[in-house]
């Protein structure tokens, strides 16, 4: 340890303790992120080097795995990325207004109606998707949307994702002062306008939480796209990756390249909106 004048002094026990703590924390974190390190370095190494020493850093790094994944003749990965993006963006763009308008409408009703409706919606958070999967496909068949992207998006809108959106929004609606809504009403503003121009800006943190988590979950979803789209109607990036795991059980380079492409968007998204991410996650964890 150095003092301001630059002479060495004996480290105090407290400083020792601090340094030990950082070392322990760093060691634990390193072990914890080791699998992610493996995924990252091997995406930029050729097959021989992956098999030779999977732990080594990618020196020199190669982009072959990633470009090969993007230029496969069946176009599986670019299509998968595009499909996942479309499904996630459209689903979230519809779930946000549906969830918030519903929450605003319900939160202005009397206690009993509100409680009953919220109880029914709570079920959506608990129901395992395997329970509703098969009948959902049957309902989509009735309306002629089975094995299609609109069908997958519709199923996303009505399932547990809506419950999640409503629960986040209802919590935030409580903090919208009743006087503001009443005043706007006296000024002749309609319910629709009050919701869109007054309430929505006030509950922006809720919209951030809903949009962040729903995009992540829908992007990473596996069961619904696998069975609702089915094998013939193209793939999202998750089901496409699942398919290639079977095909390329020996070509690790290719697989790590595809995994990198599937993970990069959520990871960048997480790193950019980390603060809102953590805030959304922990809003219920403290009193």
């Amino acid at each position: 340890m150095r003092t301001a004048s630059g002479t060495r002094v004996r480290a105090t026990p407290a400083a020792h303790g601090r340094r030990l703590r950082v070392l322990i924390a760093a060691a634990v974190t390193l072990v914890f992120v080791a699998p992610i390190y493996l995924m990252l370095v091997n995406a930029f190494k050729p097959q021989e080097k992956i098999l030779g020493n999977p732990v080594a850093p990618p020196l020199p790094p190669t982009l072959d795995n990633v470009t090969e994944a993007l230029t496969r003749p069946d176009n599986l990965i670019p299509l998968g990325l595009r499909n996942s993006l479309v499904v996630a963006v459209v689903s979230v763009a519809l779930l946000v207004p549906l969830g918030s308008a519903f929450s605003f409408y319900v939160s202005r009703r009397t206690g009993r109606t509100k409680a009953a409706v919220l109880l029914v919606l709570a079920a959506g958070l608990m129901v395992p998707p395997q329970v509703t999967l098969l009948p959902t496909i049957r309902i989509l068949t009735w309306i002629g949307l089975d094995h299609s992207y609109p069908g997958l998006i519709l199923a996303n809108l009505g399932g547990g994702y809506l419950s999640f959106a409503v629960f986040v929004y209802v919590g935030f609606m409580r903090s919208v002062p009743d006087e503001i809504v009443q005043a706007a009403r006296l000024d002749g503003a309609s319910g629709l306008r009050i919701w869109w121009q007054i309430v929505m800006p006030l509950v922006r943190p809720a919209t951030a939480t809903v949009a962040i988590f729903l995009s992540l979950w829908i992007w990473n979803d596996f069961l619904n796209p696998l069975f609702i789209l089915g094998p013939l109607q193209g793939q999202t990036i998750t089901t496409g990756l699942y398919l290639t795991i079977g095909q390329y059980s020996v070509d690790y380079g290719q697989l790590f390249g595809i995994m990198f492409l599937a993970a990069i968007l959520p990871v960048i998204g997480y790193l950019t909106v980390q603060k809102q991410f953590v805030a959304g996650l922990t809003s219920g964890a403290t009193k």
Binding site: Q130, V166, N220, I245, A285
Partner: protein
């Protein structure tokens, strides 16, 4: 006046649309599943007759179902304990504000962002017979020959438990960190003045004060494991010899591979009841605990 009315109706319409979608794509499927559980519906044999409670009585003698329930509950208990213990430990370790700790917190949460398919595949390259773990352990000399981490029922159970715990620990850490930071500093000061330190401080101050975090963390851990599909499907596919076949996997197999839709629906009803009972009793118990602490 007309404009105002159309705006009033517009909001109600949007709300009704949301409720309608929920009814059609969640409540109706639940009811259809319930109805189907009383039939012998099988698209392959084109049967769909009412069979009363036969599916439910069949469940009582179904060894695969019993094994799947034991596996699912064991995994749920193991993961919940491990992920919450790790989460508390990690949170206490990382509860500092300097840059290095913030970087570590960011990294600790990363697994939570990845899809289960990716998580399972990365761990597969680590855990398979000639995977990274065995290569490392045999090179160092800890093992003489590769150990089948996914090859025996017990080892596969523990491996899945480790992988799912790895994913969930990022989440529990963040929740416990927030809970820790909500503890008023005066409380710690008071404990210091009274000479309460270390494990005693943890027991009497920290642990009771993070109770709301524990409630959320434990509930989410349990529900996650009961629903879990992708990680197990990719990592072991339910093997070896169906030993890691969770109830969720068993339902999908019955419905889509064996085409026994009626019976699959009955098992699905059981899983639903189990999730509801576990979630409600555990959450209820933890909530009461929050008040008593």
């Amino acid at each position: 006046m007309t404009r105002r009315h159309s705006g009033e109706r517009g909001l109600a319409l949007l709300a009704a649309l949301a409720l309608g979608l929920y009814l059609v794509f969640l409540v109706l499927p639940l009811l259809l599943s319930l109805r189907s559980s009383f039939t012998d519906e099988n698209p392959l044999r084109a049967t769909n007759d009412f069979v009363g409670l036969r599916n439910y009585t069949e469940m009582a003698g179904d060894d695969q179902l019993r094994a799947s329930l034991v596996f699912t509950l064991t995994l749920a208990a193991g993961v919940t304990l491990a992920a919450n213990a790790l989460g508390v430990g990690f949170a206490i370790l990382l509860d500092r504000t300097s840059l290095s700790y913030r970087v570590m917190r960011t990294l600790a949460f990363l697994p939570q962002v990845l899809s289960g398919v990716i998580v399972a595949f990365v761990w597969q390259t680590i855990l398979t017979q000639n995977g990274l773990l065995n290569t490392a352990l045999t090179t160092i000399g800890i093992l003489d020959e590769p150990y089948p981490w996914l090859g025996s029922p017990t080892a596969a159970l523990i491996s899945i438990c480790v992988v799912v715990t790895w994913v969930l620990s990022g989440f529990t850490t963040v929740v416990y960190l927030a809970a820790l930071q909500s503890i008023p500093l005066e409380l710690h000061d008071m404990a210091s003045l009274d000479g309460v330190h270390g494990t005693q401080r943890f027991r009497t101050v920290t642990w009771p004060m993070i109770a709301p975090g524990t409630t959320i963390s434990v509930t989410i851990s349990l529900i996650t494991v009961l629903k879990l599909y992708d990680i197990i499907a990719v990592l072991t596919g339910g093997g070896p010899a169906n030993s890691t076949q969770s109830t969720a996997l068993y339902i999908v197999k019955l419905a889509f591979t064996s085409d026994r839709v009626g019976y699959a629906s009955a098992v699905a009803m059981l899983l639903l009841a189990l999730s509801a009972v576990v979630a409600l009793t555990v959450t209820g118990a933890l909530r009461r605990r929050e008040i008593n602490l």
